[in-house]
């Protein structure tokens, strides 16, 4: 089991979701984050206060996958999130010791296998 953490551009999120869907990755969690990297800074001015904004809006995806899904997931993200310009983001693969589905208590592989619809 791995946890794949990907930082991508917000405007690429929908493409990434679509690519993951095609790769049959269903479960994932996303959050709004701000990223700092090799990019330039924006300057903003509010009355006499001038500030440098070194942070850009990004979206973080966290995807728990069983080992055979790691490569396809990475490939899906890479293909959908890339623009080629600085700021495209990073993918981290973290080891996971255990995954549990809260609804059923199922563990590991079983916990990340999709189920029939309902409210998610």
């Amino acid at each position: 089991m791995k946890l794949i953490v990907a930082i991508v551009r917000p405007e690429k999120l929908n493409d990434v979701l679509e690519a993951l869907f095609k790769a049959e990755v269903r479960g994932l969690t996303i959050s709004k984050v701000m990223g700092h990297g090799g990019g330039t800074e924006r300057v903003e001015t509010y009355r006499g206060t001038t500030v440098k904004m070194g942070l850009y809006e990004k979206v973080k995806l966290e995807i728990g996958v069983s080992d055979p899904f790691v490569e396809p997931t990475i490939q899906a993200i890479l293909s959908a999130a890339r623009t080629g310009e600085v700021g495209d983001g990073k993918i981290f693969v973290l080891p996971v010791e255990k995954v549990i589905r809260i609804r059923t208590g199922e563990e590991d592989e079983a916990a990340v296998t999709p189920v029939k619809p309902g409210e998610g």
Partner: protein, 434 residues
């Protein structure tokens, strides 16, 4: 001076002496002017709420630009081009640079109110009209281009059209109580032409453009309704029967439009949307604008009800036509303006408003209305196109694709609507004490 002014006093059988201020009339015209002025910030909220998170300030600042540059241009020249004595096509320079409002060391009074006030009252109309246009263009237009274009537009599209209809010009037989044609059709056509000339936003059709703050949309709609009482009621140029009728109709029509819209929304989506209600209020207000002082209250309810249909259905399909009229100015103001203008000819009532319409046998009035609509559409379309191409000579009209993606608030204004303080690093300047 203005036809509207004369018409009103004649209709009421008043023979008010030039020179005597009627305090009641003046009080009403003062507050009406303030109400109409408020409509532009209100529109900024209506539009700003519909805009996406990254274009909120730009959207609002477009309206505020009309208040600034537009207001000044109107006072110095536009008012005169609209209302000073001229020919059938355009007014003269009699009021240019705010001349002509003092006589023998006293302020000129006309039809019970100081004539100078009319510059402000009519100015608020010019401003809101220009601001309305911006709704079709948000998300891609360069701010400097907008400031230049909108100022020229007030002078050379709005002012002449106002002259045609209200300034004893070539459409002076059309009924347009408060600006259905001059304001709403005009703005909507300009918006449509502008949207076509600018072209769609780069991500149009691929990405969902959602409103960022719907309460702001409702706030805008509420304040617009409030201000519109001055817009329509003040267009009676008196605190009289005509004002009361225009006012009451301005209360009734949008209520009816909103009710019909709720039902249409239920039928189409199974849900009445809040954005829909706000839109409906504006649509109803637009539709009753030309008719306000000419039709009876039942007529107003009919106009309100009928106006819901074209706008409702057009707005539903518009995005699928590939037309990026970003905030549906044409669907709301254009179609409702046309519907209202024509129905004014149908429902006008001699007893209520002084002129008979189609239902009272005078179907010619409908033809006159149609003619005015067509003239307005053609003039507005051509004039807008010319001015946009002219503006392009000096500044590019659009931002780049990348700037669109980053967002216009940041790119054009150097601000965010809701600034993030995390990671904002104060820039020390030389000599600055930190």
């Amino acid at each position: 001076m203005k036809k509207r002014l004369l018409a009103t006093s004649v209709f009421l059988g008043l023979a008010m002496a030039e020179g005597a201020v009627d305090t009641g009339v003046t009080a009403w015209m003062l507050i009406s002017t303030a109400l109409v002025l408020l409509m532009t910030p209100a529109l900024a909220f209506f539009y700003g709420g519909l805009a996406g998170q990254k274009n909120v300030l730009n959207t609002m600042a477009m309206s505020f630009a009309a208040l600034a540059a537009g207001g000044v241009a109107w006072a110095l020249l536009g008012y005169s081009l609209a209302y000073a004595e001229g020919n059938a096509f355009i007014g003269g320079l009699g009021y240019a640079f705010l001349q002509g409002f003092l006589e023998e060391g006293k302020m000129v009074v006309s039809d019970g109110m100081p004539a100078l006030l009319d510059v402000a009252f009519q100015g608020t109309f010019a401003i809101i009209t220009a601001a309305l246009v911006s709704g079709s263009l948000v998300g891609r237009m360069r701010y400097s281009a907008w400031v230049i274009f909108s100022t020229l537009w007030i002078l050379f599209v709005y002012a002449p059209l106002a002259h045609w209809v209200w300034g004893d010009g070539l459409l002076s037989d059309a009924l347009d109580f408060a600006g259905g044609t001059v304001v709403h059709i005009n703005a909507a056509v300009a918006g449509l032409v502008g949207a076509l000339i600018l072209g769609p936003r780069k991500e149009f059709g691929r990405v969902a453009f959602l409103p960022h703050n719907i309460p702001f949309v409702l706030l805008g709609a509420g304040l617009l309704w409030f201000g519109w009482f001055g817009f329509n009621g003040g267009s009676a140029y008196g605190a009289n029967e005509s004002a009361a009728l225009a006012f009451t109709n301005t209360f009734l029509a949008p209520a009816m439009t909103a009710l019909v819209w709720i039902v249409l929304d239920y039928l189409a989506n199974g849900k009445a949307t809040a954005v829909g209600i706000a839109t409906a209020i504006v649509v109803g207000l637009v539709a009753i604008t030309p008719a306000a002082g000419y039709v009876g209250p039942l007529g107003a309810l009919w106009i309100g009800a009928l106006a819901a249909f074209p706008s409702f259905y057009f707005i539903r399909v518009r995005p699928r036509l590939g037309l990026d009229d970003s905030l549906d100015v044409f669907g709301s103001h254009g179609l409702a303006g046309i519907t209202g203008a024509i129905l004014t000819g149908v429902f006008a009532s001699a007893a209520w408003g002084g002129t008979a319409g189609g239902l009272e046998g005078n179907w010619t009035q409908v033809l006159i209305q149609v003619k005015a609509v067509i003239y307005a559409i053609v003039y507005s379309a051509v004039g807008t196109a010319v001015l946009l191409y002219l503006t392009r000579v000096f500044v590019p009209l659009r931002v780049s694709e990348k700037e669109e993606r980053v967002g216009l608030d940041s790119v054009l204004h150097g601000e965010e609507a809701y600034p993030v303080t995390e990671g904002a690093i104060l820039v020390a300047e030389e000599g600055g004490k930190r």
